[in-house]
Subunit: 143 residues, 2 copies
DNA sequence: CTCCTAACTTATAATCGGTCTAAATCTATG
DNA sequence: CATAGATTTAGACCGATTATAAGTTAGGAG
């Protein structure tokens, strides 16, 4: 959870461990994701990696996030009706989602127990379990 | 679960009970949804209500589904990265989601127990809890 | 080195679900 | 019938994502 800093080599090792060829752009995107540990849309990532130091195209950002998710380096969150979020935190956890602001908050999965789920259909392989608690702040600043 | 048929008047009563003015288009959309009880995208509904008998515009379909969800006549499912699904089944339940085909399957919530969830942030009001089990059929027809 | 190939990145066009807009229609009421 | 408010509509528009096709890069063979 705490924003650990990763060295260039550590990032490269992470990618390799997940079967990802560590190109400059992929390392840069991974660095941004893992140096912050939040919830990012592709547009967010695109903004993060395009600055004075680095330039990465939009197509590469989308491709790379998809690749990372496929290789299980990060997790895809389908929670907002308009866009996908990506979560570099691979420790099992769930989410609060504020339906007004779109803000996501982690829920530690350690304490959460889900029992009584039926078996998967025959031949099916589990990809993941998403638990999303949708909530709304009781108009805090309404007047 | 079993596809009960609703009379025109029953549909109108349902809408009124949820504070929805029962216009012709809304009744038609509700009839299609409740006569089948599945999981529908807006495009699905648009196709269902546009036939020899009836014509409803795309804008009205989107507006009406949004209204129905807001009034809790149906439930919005955010589970597919590309589009929203609507579920006329308001009995609490969860979903299997086949990440390849996009097919949704109901999971009866009666047996499912979720414990250990933290309290909502102060002032927050729960909108709903979504449990989605993402799975993949082990390539049944690959060759 | 230089060539070659495969992997990768890029700019840009295209797609697609969904929303917006402004006009038309409907409905209830006086 | 006139009016106002709610609703519907066609079509323009938007924003997230994907597709396309060309350009770049890295590494091995000669």
């Amino acid at each position: 959870m705490e924003p650990k800093t990763y060295t260039h080599d550590e990032i490269i090792a992470m990618l390799r461990e997940h079967g990802i060829n560590p190109t400059a752009q992929r390392v840069e995107i991974a660095r941004e994701l893992f140096s912050r540990k939040g919830h990012y849309s592709a547009e967010d990532v695109f903004a993060l990696v395009n600055n004075d130091q680095t330039q990465v195209s939009k197509a590469t950002v989308y491709n790379t996030l998809g690749l990372f998710a496929e290789k299980r380096l990060i997790r895809q969150l389908i929670v907002d009706p308009t866009k996908v979020f990506y979560d570099p935190n691979m420790v099992p956890h769930h989410h609060f989602y504020d339906v007004v602001t779109g803000k996501l908050t982690d829920i530690d999965a350690n304490d959460v127990r889900i029992t009584g789920l039926p078996a998967l259909p025959p031949g099916a392989q589990m990809e993941g379990v998403d638990v999303i608690i949708r909530m709304r702040q009781a108009n805090p600043t309404a007047g």
